[in-house]
Symmetry: C2
Subunit: 411 residues, 2 copies
């Protein structure tokens, strides 16, 4: 079963917003065994919508559109679809009542524009949007399905889960798509490819191998489309077992786990606790851990000590050492990691202190210089890393390095 | 001048990665006056690449592709393009040396796969990738340009800035695209549309108005394509001035500023300082501020006090109050905001304490309940907000509410 995803909105094409809907939809469709053949983003233009829909229906059985369902004049998806499917519009009492109630909760009166939101094409099945004022629509034509959803991510997600996926599973007989990922570390992509070439060449025909490199790790993904999920998973596990014998020391995890997820699981398993003292990463490391459900089992406290003063006051870093060695130094990184471990009573402390730029660099310590400190019950140490030149990249890389460093230290 | 963006990779279509390249490319092309007509994501399939390229060249003057240039077998973009442009391959000595040097720095030997990365189509201009091992390619045919770039975001960005944009500006005579955005707050989208309907109807024909709603704000964007940038900007400013007279109290900013950017500017202007104490937002608020260059002028310290113990130890929250009212309470939110302000010596303190889920909720305090505390030299108070049901959404919403609350309090 093939599908096409179409996201609509000038704000996407000019780069004003990041299109996260396409990714979510891809994940949902894949998980249900529906192959995403293509994703396209187009502007709020009736001609573009019509042409793209024509093409999508020629290549796919299922088409999901998002966006262009708001109450204002730039939102034209609904009327374009009504014309596409030669359908008149009707006033939907139930949707009108729901819109009226939603607005009332926010103290807003129902007006002409909201009334237009309750107008729906006669030929569609209305998908009730419990979390917003724009209903979704489900059209069928010649055995194919076209679904139109609002572009607001939160509303779209609920409509997919509550209305669209259950209907698709009922409407079509779906096979399964299996993706399994193995995570390697400490081996370059080209060397890895050489080492596993023989294994790769002997893979069963239905399995597709992909290499996904990231800082310090390369993921290997095996995918098989429209198969029997359970037996295919077993076949892939069998292949992974063979691979294990070729590169046993380089396999650090499975599936899409990030290093913070691996560390999260490791700390919970060991019943140990972590605190973090951040300067240049500004709270990123804390938020990576605390984004994970269950982090409160081990995450004690994070200190974002941006100013020198707060490094001394909160973490007990020596003022003399800051004067002598600078805030971006091995000494300060060590004292920060040790300090946060001490004040919080955690088993492990991580620290970062660096120059995120764009200003503040010097010849000895250019922008991108970061000292990362690790403190454990056994020892405290710090390592200097060059994390690039761009502020957001420096924050990301320094965070990734710091988390991997502690992971490798514990493991 | 029209363009199409094509991103290639099965990992995009299955939703394994978020396609951020398309957004970046959209922004760059737009800023140079090149209209992005369509964006498409396809899999690593020669047939898909060829068909999509055919279509893109029929509708656009410039086509930018990313992805599929790695050294492994799943990367087929280069050979597909060579066939598309009927070109033989040649070995590029300069690229080979560069790849060899890059690998040497990481202690990796140059192998057969790396050798294949130095092979390039004869018909293309090689775009040197200073930050990676896969060179970019520039093809021309019948007055149109096709550019192929690696999918690694960092490498792609440098190639665009250093190689592609300068060449496009030299190659084509480009007009300008103007987008100007005005930010409104405290007025619902449908009410806003009603209030400004007359103004909207009287807009000059070349200006397109878009409504972009987000929590607590609605952005209004006026766009004009392929115009004289300076005179069009003045015309838009003239329209914004008229709009100001219609909704003077609801205009809070211009362009794509987020509330944290508005607050960043406000604090720097006033020479005042901020500290943050976070529980359920886990460092997100600190990282939103510190992501901005220059934040060290006002950002003193962030405390991610996830455990009750650290709330008491680090911030001086009363243990008795945690027992009596719970960690998620008005009292604790106030003491956290006040505490972080006191220990850091800042002018303002923000705090969050809530239930991010999925577990930990109760009938009185369901998942999503967040108390947000604000402490200023004048007063300390806290407000309870319902931030939804999904963990990541709760963190985002609570952070957005907290930052807006302080912004409105100061303003």
């Amino acid at each position: 079963m093939k599908s096409t995803i179409i996201t609509i909105g000038d704000e996407i094409l000019i780069g004003q917003i990041l299109d996260t809907n396409s990714r979510y939809l891809s994940q949902q469709l894949n998980a249900a065994g529906i192959v995403v053949f293509e994703r396209t983003s187009i502007g709020d233009s009736a001609e573009s919508i019509t042409e793209t829909l024509d093409r999508a229906l020629s290549q796919s059985d299922i088409v999901i559109l998002t966006g262009g369902l708001g109450p204002t004049k730039d939102d034209i998806t609904k009327h374009t679809l009504a014309r596409y499917f030669h359908s008149d519009m009707r006033y939907d009492e139930r949707e009108a009542e729901h819109i009226c109630a939603m607005l009332a909760r926010r103290g807003i009166a129902f007006n002409e524009l909201n009334r237009s939101q309750a107008m729906v094409p006669e030929r569609c099945t209305v998908l009730h949007n419990a979390h917003g004022t724009a209903p979704g629509m489900w059209f069928e034509q010649e055995g194919k399905v076209v679904v139109s959803l609002p572009g607001v991510p939160f509303e779209m997600v609920h409509l997919m889960e509550d209305e669209v996926m259950p209907r698709l599973k009922k409407r079509f007989e779906l096979r399964q798509i299996v993706h399994r990922t193995l995570i390697t570390s400490g081996i370059a992509e080209s060397i890895l490819a050489e080492r596993i070439a023989e294994w790769e060449d002997a893979l069963p025909e239905e399995m597709h191998l992909a290499y996904l490199p990231a800082p310090n790790i390369v993921r290997l993904r095996l995918s098989a489309y429209e198969v029997d999920g359970a037996s295919e998973s077993r076949r892939i596990e069998h292949e992974f077992a063979k691979l294990y014998n070729i590169i046993p020391d380089h396999i650090v995890g499975y599936e899409d786990a990030t290093v913070e997820q691996l560390l999260h699981a490791l700390l919970i398993e060991r019943g140990e606790r972590l605190s973090v003292a951040e300067s240049c990463t500004g709270g990123r490391i804390a938020s990576l851990f605390t984004a994970q459900a269950g982090a409160s089992a081990y995450f004690m406290c994070g200190a974002v000590t941006y100013s020198n003063d707060s490094k001394c006051r909160v973490l007990g870093v020596s003022e003399d050492d800051i004067r002598a060695f600078g805030a971006v130094s091995e000494q300060v990184a060590c004292q920060m990691a040790e300090g946060v471990r001490r004040i919080s009573g955690a088993d492990y402390g991580i620290s970062t202190t660096g120059i995120a730029g764009p200003s503040g660099g010097s010849p000895e310590k250019p922008v991108g210089t970061v000292w990362i400190g690790i403190s454990t019950p056994q020892r405290t140490f710090a390592v200097r890393r060059d994390c690039g030149t761009d502020r957001s990249q420096i924050v990301s890389r320094a965070s990734a390095y710091a988390i991997s460093m502690l992971y490798n230290e514990i493991r």
